[in-house]
Symmetry: C2
Amino acid sequence: MRLAELSERSGVPIPTIKYYLREELLPPGRRVSATQAEYDEEHLRRLRLVRALLQLGRVPVATAREVLAAVADESVDQLSRLGTAVAALPPGGPRDTDGDETTAREAERTAEELQRRLGWRVVPENPAHLTLVSALSALLRLGYPCDVSQLLPYGRLAGDLAAHEVALIGEFEAPTTQLEAAVALTVLYEPVLLSLRRLAQAEEASRRFGGE
Amino acid sequence: MRLAELSERSGVPIPTIKYYLREELLPPGRRVSATQAEYDEEHLRRLRLVRALLQLGRVPVATAREVLAAVADESVDQLSRLGTAVAALPPGGPRDTDGDETTAREAERTAEELQRRLGWRVVPENPAHLTLVSALSALLRLGYPCDVSQLLPYGRLAGDLAAHEVALIGEFEAPTTQLEAAVALTVLYEPVLLSLRRLAQAEEASRRFGGE
DNA sequence: ATGATTGGATAGTGCCACTCTCCAACACGG
DNA sequence: CCGTGTTGGAGAGTGGCACTATCCAATCAT
C-alpha cells in the first residue's frame, strides 16, 4: 500500500508518518521507483505500536527510537535486548533533584530493604529503582508514611502482576514478537492498571465517605 | 520567611516560585509592605506538593491549579471536592483518537463488564473510565489479549490498593489535609507502583529467561 | 544617604511533537 | 506523448508549555 493508504488505515496524518519515517520510528517502505514506496501490514502494525507508545505511553520520540532499535537489534541475546528496551522506557527522564540529602538517603535505604524483603535483586542503577527512590523521597519530604511495612503489599502485588505478564509474554513464539509484546504490554498495561486503581478509589471513597 | 529563603529551603529557583505564584499554584505571601511578603511553613509544604505533582506526577500546570483549587474550595462538600480534584488529575488529557469504531466499541463493552464483575458502579464520563477504554482499544488494535478474564486479577489488585489507600486517607483529621493527602497519595504512589512493577518484571524475566 | 535586595510584571528561551511548504520524479488518462 | 495530479523526501516553521531573564520601582540594611 502507499503512504496515503497507510495514513487512512491508521488514522495518522501523512506528514506525521513522514516525520516518524525520518525519526526512524518506522522502517522505510520498499522502494518501487525513485519516488514511490510500498508499505505492508507490518508497517501498519508498527505504526499502531508507535502511536500507542507515544500517545498512551507518553514515551518521547527519541526514547521510542531507542526502544524499537533495541528490539530489532539481532546482535545480542534476547534478555539483553529486553533489558535495554524496557530500561529505556519512561519514567527514565528527569528525576527530581530538589530536596535534601537526608531524605534521599532514607528513601534509598527504604527502597533497598523493600526489595530485599521481597527477595529481589537490588540493582541501584536500574531506572525503575531510581524512580522509586525519587518518589519515596518526595513522599517523605511531604510527611506521608512510606515505610517498608506500608510498601510490602504493593511490592507483592507488583510481583503478582509481573509473574502474570511475563508468563503471557512467554506464550509468544518468535523472539522479536516476544520483545515487542514485552514493550507493548509494559507500556499499555500501565494506563490500564492506573485507571483501574482510580476507579477502585472512587468506588471505595464513595462507599466510605459518601452515604448515598 | 522571604522568597529567597523559601527558594533555598525548597531547592526551587526564585523565578520558578514567582511563576507558580502567578499561576496560582501557591497562595500569595502575607504582604508586610508594598514590596515585601512573608511566607511560612505552609507555603513550603505547598511548594513541595506542587513540585511533586508537576515533576513526579507529570501534572500540567493548568491541571494542578484546578486540582489545588478544588481541594481548597470550601463551598462544597468533601466528597465532591475529592471527586473534582482527582478527576482533574491526568491521565485526563488527550486521549487517543486513532482507530476504528469497532475496537472502540468492544473496548467499551469490556471495560463495562469488567467493572460490573468487580461490583463497581460504571460511570462512563469518568476520566479514568475513558482512559481505560482508550488503553484497551489500543491493545485490541495491536492484537494483544485483553478480555475480561485477563483483566479481572488486575481489577482485584486495584481494589486492594484502593482499599488500603482510602483507609490511610481516613486517618488524617482535618478535611483539607485529607483532600491533600488523597491527591498526594494518588499521584505519588503511581510512580511507586509502576516502578515496583518494573522491578518485579525484571526479576521475573531474568528468572524465567536468563539462566544465571 | 546609598547600594543591595525584594516582589512583581513582561518578554524571551528551549524543547518537543508535529505540520507546512516546496520540489523533482513519477503515474496515468486521453 | 502530453498535461495533470500524486508521491515521497527534505527543510523550515508552528504552537504549546514550563520555565527563565530582564526590568523596575519601592524598600531595607548600614
